[in-house]
């Protein structure tokens, strides 16, 4: 299978003057994209500390330079590590400790630790280079993405060039987007969903329009109109936000949009039906997947109208089985752990033995579900206690740890509760035990957290409690606090 980089080079040979990507008033054609990627690759090789196989951290925003630096890292034999621009200092330090990267690009001053700090502007100023590079081998590691682990510490997920190319082919095969499509991307590209959209579009020779956020509805609708956008992606929280800010104005583009991809958080059967009605001729798709096994199941809200409560069926070339606790496959209708096999699946977590990660060559998702006779996957519960805030996963332990550092706090346990404003799906609720006599308000705690945690991890619902309920073994009983 050809790597994504090879496909971008093929697209540049075939469609040199076609815009590959636009961001604000700037754009790059496919030819320029390849030349700037090649320039970035050469530049890395001149830096102190560079050697093949080392990692580089990228504060993934919607700059064109992110794409040059990301793909350039791949061609220079580096492991690219895209991270959210607002990644908190503790998490960033953990990533540095785990991977020992030699450079950090685009982070705020002081956040680079002992690595070489680079600015995006450096990548904009490099002279273009015309070159046909040696493309990486499919089994080499391209990216390490970090997911929220159950203990609060993130887990590194290596993805090979083969994993990435396979995922892009599987997704494009399902969604049926073509070279003619123009896609608008407002999702963060530091996460698997948004980054996956970038890969799918560029593999196909499409034009990709980058937008900072869904919040800018005026700009979003202007771009949809002016760029004649035909493809769009969102998480349920983006849809809730768009409805709050603009009603159902997105449906004015129903005749124009050929496809929509959704994912990352639960979406009710009623909501799916409603979207199908608003977009009668659009392919409205939704995936179930993980960073470790991108988009493993898919559904289309019109085609699968008899199974809207499911998360769809296995994606093209993907096997899904339900396993019991010994790793044996269960028959349809029986509940167990969802396990996935395919060329897109990670080879295992960094620094974690694979025994607990796989049953044979099936990746264990940690999610509980069942398969129906006709192959629909129904998600029942998550084994992991993660809170899903607008599609972003939060480990309650990570928030607990930071709250416990606030003077006056004796004990604490965070849980996910439905968002009272109905926007984000879930939000973080903090149940806090105060030290006797401490003068402390929830505002004080939230203020203390603001420099230590990303905004979406900061609790929005608070309660004082007398004691955190725990089992005899000391395990926090979060279910009792919801």
């Amino acid at each position: 299978m050809r790597t994504l980089e090879e496909r971008i080079w093929e697209n540049a040979a075939r469609l040199p003057d076609k815009p590959a990507v636009k961001s604000g008033s700037r754009q790059a054609t496919y030819r320029e994209l390849t030349r700037r990627i090649a320039a970035a690759a050469q530049f890395y090789a001149t830096l102190p500390g560079y050697s093949r196989g080392r990692a580089v951290l990228l504060a993934a925003g919607k700059q064109l330079e992110f794409l040059y630096a990301y793909f350039g890292a791949h061609l220079a034999g580096l492991i690219a590590v895209p991270l959210a621009e607002d990644t908190n200092p503790t998490r960033l330090a953990y990533v540095r400790e785990t991977l020992k990267p030699f450079a950090s690009i685009g982070f705020a001053p002081g956040m680079e630790g002992e690595t070489l700090r680079l600015e995006w502007s450096t990548f904009a100023s490099l002279d273009e280079v015309e070159a046909t590079p040696d493309f990486p081998a499919p089994e080499a590691v391209a990216d390490v993405l970090f997911t929220t682990g159950t203990t609060g510490a993130p887990k590194g997920v290596p993805l090979t060039f083969g994993n990435i190319a396979a995922a892009a082919s599987q997704i494009n095969a399902y969604i049926r987007n073509t070279e003619e499509d123009v896609e608008l991307l407002a999702l963060p590209i530091s996460h698997s969903f948004g980054l996956g959209r970038v890969r799918c579009c560029l593999a196909n020779g499409q034009t990709l329009i980058l937008l900072g956020s869904f919040a800018n509805v005026k700009r979003l609708f202007r771009l949809l109109r002016e760029e004649r956008v035909t493809g769009f992606s969102m998480v349920p929280a983006s849809w809730a936000l768009l409805r709050k800010l603009s009603g159902e104005a997105l449906a004015d583009f129903a005749g124009q949009l050929r496809y929509i991809e959704m994912g990352s958080a639960p979406f009710s059967a009623d909501d799916k039906r409603h979207l199908a009605e608003l977009f009668p001729t659009t392919r409205v798709t939704m995936h179930y997947g993980l960073t470790e096994a991108s988009r493993s199941a898919f559904m289309e809200f019109h085609e699968d109208d008899r199974a809207l409560a499911s998360v769809g069926r296995a994606s093209p070339n993907v096997d899904i089985v339900i396993c019991d606790e010994q790793g044996h496959a269960l028959p349809p209708g029986e509940e167990g752990e969802i396990c996935i096999r395919g060329a897109h699946v990670t080879r295992g977590y960094l620094n974690v033995p694979n025994d607990a990660t796989f049953y044979g060559d099936y990746f264990r998702t940690g999610d509980v579900g069942l398969l129906s006779q006709d192959g629909y996957l129904y998600l029942r519960s998550r084994l992991k206690e993660l809170i899903n805030v607008g599609g972003k996963k939060v480990a309650p332990q990570e928030v607990d740890e930071q709250i416990l550092k606030v003077p006056g706090v004796k004990d604490c346990a965070c849980v996910g509760v439905p968002d009272p404003d109905g926007m984000l799906g879930e939000v973080v609720k903090a149940c806090v035990v105060k030290e006797p006599g401490a003068e402390l308000t929830f505002e004080d705690i939230a203020a203390a957290l603001s420099s230590r945690l990303e905004a979406y991890k900061i609790p929005t619902v608070w309660a004082w409690i007398d004691e955190v309920p725990r089992t005899q073994n000391g395990k926090t009983q979060r279910g009792l606090l919801k």
């Binding site: 925003g61 919607k62 959210a84 621009e85 607002d86 407002a186 937008l211 900072g212 956020s213 869904f214 919040a215 800018n216 509805v217 005026k218 700009r219 609708f221 202007r222 929280a237 983006s238 936000l241 709050k244 800010l245 603009s246 009603g247 104005a249 607008g390 404003d421 926007m423 984000l424 603001s450 905004a455 979406y456």
Partner: protein
């Protein structure tokens, strides 16, 4: 009043007032993401005792337009 409006926005975003240029827009900086944009709107509604309409929000692209909208709505 412009200063008061910018104070509220800077406070919610956790950035300095000086960094709020007129053409800054939601999504331009990581601090101004969709979650915090909703918080900005709610804080402005509360502080200035106003209520945004959807049609009005569809017409706001950057900070200068948001400030102008609040000024207009908060007129006694």
């Amino acid at each position: 009043m412009q200063d008061e409006i910018k104070d509220v926005i800077a406070d919610v975003l956790g950035v300095s007032v000086a960094s709020l240029t007129d053409d800054l827009a939601p999504g331009d900086i990581p601090e101004w993401d969709s979650l915090r944009h909703v918080m900005v709107l709610t804080a402005l509604e509360k502080t200035f005792n106003i209520k945004f309409q959807r049609e009005e929000l569809l017409d706001v692209e950057d900070l200068s337009e948001l400030v102008a909208l609040v000024e207009e709505k908060a007129q006694p």
